[in-house]
Symmetry: C2
Subunit: 440 residues, 2 copies
Amino acid sequence: MRLSQSLIPTIKEVPSEAQIASHRLMLRAGLVRQTAAGIYAWLPAGLRVLNNIADIVREEQDAAGAQEVLMPTIQPATLWQESGRYEDYGKEMLRIKDRHERDLLFGPTNEEMITDLYRQSVKSYKELPQAAYQIQWKFRDEVRPRFGVMRGREFLMKDAYSFALDYAGAVIIYRRMMLAYMRTFQRLGVKAIPMVADTGPIGGDLSHEFIILAPTGESQVFYDAAFEDVDYGAGNFDIDKSEDLERFFGIMTGNYAATDEKHDLDAWGKVAEDRRREGRGIEVGHIFYFGTKYSAAMNFSVTGPDGQKLFPEMGSYGIGVSRMVGALIEASHDEAGIIWPDSVAPFKVGILNLKQGDAVTDAMAEDVYGKLRKVALYDDRSERAGVKFADADLMGHPWQIIIGPRGAANGMVELKRRATGEREELTVEAALAKIGLIAN
Amino acid sequence: MRLSQSLIPTIKEVPSEAQIASHRLMLRAGLVRQTAAGIYAWLPAGLRVLNNIADIVREEQDAAGAQEVLMPTIQPATLWQESGRYEDYGKEMLRIKDRHERDLLFGPTNEEMITDLYRQSVKSYKELPQAAYQIQWKFRDEVRPRFGVMRGREFLMKDAYSFALDYAGAVIIYRRMMLAYMRTFQRLGVKAIPMVADTGPIGGDLSHEFIILAPTGESQVFYDAAFEDVDYGAGNFDIDKSEDLERFFGIMTGNYAATDEKHDLDAWGKVAEDRRREGRGIEVGHIFYFGTKYSAAMNFSVTGPDGQKLFPEMGSYGIGVSRMVGALIEASHDEAGIIWPDSVAPFKVGILNLKQGDAVTDAMAEDVYGKLRKVALYDDRSERAGVKFADADLMGHPWQIIIGPRGAANGMVELKRRATGEREELTVEAALAKIGLIAN
């Protein structure tokens, strides 16, 4: 994209309403704008990050055997009355009356609706196990929304639901999802630690939350270095083999990990001193096994092999996709701005034309942009070089191709790696080869 | 996907609540399920169609120079009070109060919000023209929602908005969008005719709606055969050249086209008899130029080249993405079921195992499925052959690979083309080559 004709409004001033780094940087880098308390519009650069994250989440859900569906945002209250959660949810649920005075709500989660969809169609044990997921906007009417997209009211979440015939089958899906999560976070370029968690309003008796490490995280976390040593890739664990899943789950649950709320000094003392790790963390995912809580309450049963009636054993699995945008920035930024992991960067490359209007510089910049149209943001504004340098660092493109009149006259560009600050002078071809965008 | 473990619940009975073919077929083929009046959940096969359509729409919007954004579904009432539309919209607007009793609404369209986003950030004529689009869920609280997704309450729409410095600039974007629309519909496999339209609640003085032809369409349409003769491709029109856009627009507006509401018998009489075409049509898109209606009302101005204050000239451009799923089915089905155009089919191929449990048949079917995992639905249910034939025709896969025990023993499959009913016996390799999934 050409920055001059894009809705990517970078700002120099630090927005006074933003208390944490990711919120400040998302506003300053022009990723989002707030349209009401805790509700954000995603501008082109922000949406690209959101979509890149969603694509990685989607690929790993597909690989874990879940099928994608899309449930509506607006749900009838009757479904929630069936499960008994309509009253429980309190004021966080956005309640709505339509023109016929029927009670609706903006879904904060979808256990009831997915159970209803399966109840309508799945009648036999032969059709299970199954898992389904969606990536859809949810609403929770927080009293005091804050921290930008980290605690917004309208937020994008991947929520998956599983239906198995028995406990053993449910556990296999639970472990498979946990492995899919670790792979997802690894691909997003962050360290994640799964921790035993309370089940809260979802209910159930087996639950883990996933905390990613970020210096500005919301809680203190303590964990065994074992989590950092694991290779979560397909070479080490076959996600379709239950023995691999068991070995994986053994590592995830056999090593110490806790947030400060649940920190147990006795157990921590037993971890070898050189393997103790401590840091700040942000919760970005949560998985639950809750048995027949919803299937029984909503009377979803299937016929078993001997004709008996079985209530499927269920689980649900969430990742905060919009929250993850903020969390990634908390995990990866410096004084100058965002440092995007390559896998999610809105633009892999920023092209900086240091002398817009100079024929030679313009020609070279246009030529480079022509080659990188899909992955580059071309700063073609008539701004000073200093402004372009600052904005490129702020926006956090993994690579910058800097084109000035002197270099251009000699056929050279400067290539900068945002994460390290390393710069070198190269021909255009060598720069593209180094970035990995053309063969050498 | 394996049909036995998927939420693709085909049904044999004709649902009594569905009055039109697309609604019946979408329910019968397991594409969607209604979760409240006029509100649908998209099951895996339906979601694939929806995403395929959205991808084509997105590519053509990108090619037309529009940038993708994503605005929230929930909007503050204050924005609509600024434009004066808050009261105008009446009961079709879903009005909501949050826990602090603030007035919100589920957006039925986004002129106000996009104007506000541009107003916050764009200050100079140098940053225009720009166009932005989103593919996002909208809500219109219809009194009597019906016809399935064709007239639902929660629906997916592509809405684009443009900002230009003057009328001439606005007209160029308007024409460019019209060309992008014709290309979009062509790629979706349907014939579309643009027609002069009223501007309705959006306001403005230049507007076209796009009607696609379908035997079961909602209105009678009359048009000159000229529309069918045009090649809308890049070879004929360069979307970035204003002279090409003018020539294109001349053809679109210089030939007769009208729905029965606006049919003009005098003008129709002047169309050469052998060029008169008549049929039923469904509205799937609408574009508007409305000048400074919103920019002036909401005080969005930019500084012009001479320091003067300019209110940008705006347009908006909609395509009903979820409605299009129904419209495509209306345009392309027969007694047996849906006939998907190749470009949007949820699965390019259906694999029918006619004797599940037979070792040779299973082995061959698994082998074929292994090769086509991403594009095929494998009917591995333990159902009779007749049920599988009927369901494959119902679901409308462009191709069926039919595998029975006799053929399998000889290394042969039967390949059926859904649109023509043509069948032939082939080796697996020849079948895949014919479908175009492997080189010959």
